[in-house]
């Protein structure tokens, strides 16, 4: 279970999150929607442990444990996974090499045995096939020269490989054509399970037609201002964020 309590965050004196509360149960897929600048991406970075933010108040609890003091690697070991909006390029490092180093680092930190190379390759290939990622891509340097859609697919491949308990998808639909969107959504849906929690951050309802959420939360002005079921996303699609922006201005 993921609980965020009264989170207050600033960057260079500017308030981004202003007393945010959110609770997502095990097995739940929660969509976070909201206009540009409402703090959605910041929320994902704070949960994953990015530096450069001043956290003034609040807690982020994974199954009751506050993770705010942990570095990003420790959180990853606890099962936090962030699918980046803009995945980074690592020149000269083959995707396969990167995935193996990361997976084994996580396993080692959890006291599990490291995977043998054949065992690892089997798993990666299986995950790649499902996401229609050509195997040749796994030999190329991570994300270097990949198209936007390929990068996003590679993020979901990593999610499938690491089997994290808390998955955050930051605007995963941006830059995807409709076929790629379907492949990515299928990949995410295949990972839905009673003990896995998803935060799906998106601007548009389009993604939520493929990944149907259990709950929808609207963020504005650094807070969750409205929560509801999946019908809330449809309503937003029809009316836009104007109501919430008006609230900000008021």
């Amino acid at each position: 279970m993921l609980e965020i309590k009264n989170l207050v965050v600033e960057i260079e004196g500017k308030r981004i999150l202003d007393g945010l509360n959110l609770s997502v149960n095990n097995g739940e897929v929660a969509a976070i929607m909201g206009p540009n600048g409402s703090g959605k991406s910041t929320l994902s970075y704070i949960v994953a442990g990015k530096e450069d933010y001043d956290i003034l108040d609040g807690e982020v609890l994974l199954d009751g444990e506050n993770i705010l003091e942990m570095d990003p690697a420790e959180r990853a070991v606890k099962g936090v996974f962030l699918a980046f909006q803009y995945p980074l390029e690592i020149p000269g490092v083959a995707t396969m090499t990167f995935l193996k180093a990361a997976l084994n680092a996580q396993r080692k930190a959890r006291g599990e045995t490291e995977l043998t190379t054949p065992d690892f390759i089997k798993r990666v290939n299986a995950a790649a096939d499902k996401l229609e990622i050509p195997r040749e891509m796994l030999r190329r340097a991570l994300n270097v020269g990949f198209s936007g859609g390929e990068k996003k697919r590679m993020e979901i491949l990593q999610m499938a490989l690491f089997q994290p308990r808390f998955c955050i998808l930051d605007e995963t639909d941006s830059g995807l054509d409709i076929d790629a969107l379907r492949v990515v959504a299928d990949g995410v849906n295949a990972l839905r399970s009673p003990d896995r929690t998803f935060l799906v951050i998106t601007h548009y309802q389009r993604l939520l037609e493929h990944i149907v959420p259990d709950t929808v939360h609207v963020m504005a002005n650094g807070k969750v201002v409205k929560s509801g079921g999946k019908e809330l996303a449809v309503e937003l699609e029809a009316n836009g964020y104007a109501d919430y922006k008006a609230q900000e201005a008021a």
């Binding site: 442990g49 450069d52 570095d71 990853a76 980046f84 020149p91 990167f98």
Partner: protein
Amino acid sequence: MPAVQDTIDRVKAIDVDQYKYGFETILEMEKAPKGLNEDVIRFISAKKDEPEWMLEWRLEAYRRWLTMQEPSWARVSYPKIDFNDLYYYAAPKMNEAPKSLDEVDPEILKAYEKLGIPLREQEILAGVEPKNRVAVDAVFDSVSVATTFKKELAEAGVIFCSISEAIREHPELVKKYLASVVPVSDNFYATLNSAVFTDGSFVYIPPGVRCPMELSTYFRINEKNTGQFERTLIIADKGSYVSYLEGCTAPQRDENQLHAAVVELVALDDAEIKYSTVQNWYPGDSEGKGGIYNFVTKRGDCRGKNSIITWTQVETGSAITWKYPSCILRGDGSRGEFYSIAVSNGRQQIDSGTKMIHLGKNTTSRIISKGISAGQSENTYRGLVSAHRKASGARNFTNCDSLLIGDRCGAHTVPYIESKNASAVFEHEATTSKISEDQLFYCMQRGLDEEEAVALIVNGFVKDVLQKLPMEFAVEAQKLISISLEGSVG
């Protein structure tokens, strides 16, 4: 930003403890009197049992050196060296030169064992596939203490011995080739080396012979206040091939120590020489105290047609590095290559690069340089590519990449390109990048800790060059680079 502050703190915390080879070996040493004069040179020459012509050669170099100025064009700064406050010869006390390894002081053997360099052939043979054997010449301060696999190499006609022995046993080869690539008066340090060089390796590969194993020299500076003046000469006769590796370490000391080497390579028609260096001299502490001054002249002469010389270097040590392994592409169709990884951290200063001098027709050269700067270090690539009037069809490709870690280090690229032949084609590419906080965050988000993340990114950066090293050394070099950068990023 907090991350930057953290970087600074981490860099401050860099400790000399990271240098794994800082131990000292206590031995009874025999030294020349301190300082430099003609008597000291006579002392060295006598110690080496040298013929009269060699002594004269040295004295002439010394007189020449007295008229020369220390060069100041490199982007390095250091206090003036008092050349009279050094010892120019230091050797472990032995009644006679050891005839076999059994006669070598066990303390010295232990020192090399600690460094991971096995000198006993039976130990090297144990458990190692014959094709991976490496013959080693071990130079301890001013003398070569052991050369392994000599007999087996001799059967193939290969001469591999210390330069002192070569002067005594193979004077015709030494006279013909010594200083034929780096003239005695080439530069201040090379001239000094010519006057006082103490030991180093000599290699001769006869025509048509492919050297049956890797050759390697392992240099160790142990004694305090002692300069090491290594002299290495490698000759690959027509159609021959040799791969040679050099490694270097020194104890941790507060004073700076001087290493001024000269390495000459000669490749005749269709011959190939691969020269690889893993340089890990003591770099000094976090405040820049101590460390080796590494002033080195390395040059290869592709004298014959279609000859090839490749320099591969991994530079992680030394307080100051001043080193430009170069190729003179004299023979038509000859080829020169330079692959370099230069890592600087703490207060290290590196000014290194290469020269590719195209003299012959259809000569080609390739330069791949990867500089990594961390801490408060300065890392300069300085290179010259030139084509002579007669060098029609000369081609060069140069790629210089710099990677910065933190924001208090510097990377500089100074390429010189001269072409006197209109048909020459020279290409130059250069990039400078930083390990970004975002890249680190991305890697850590996937479960890699900070140091693993830096090591992974850096290894990706240097991959093209690491692939050029002989396999077993590539693994070693990879580890060494990670160790050199420990604690360099926040």
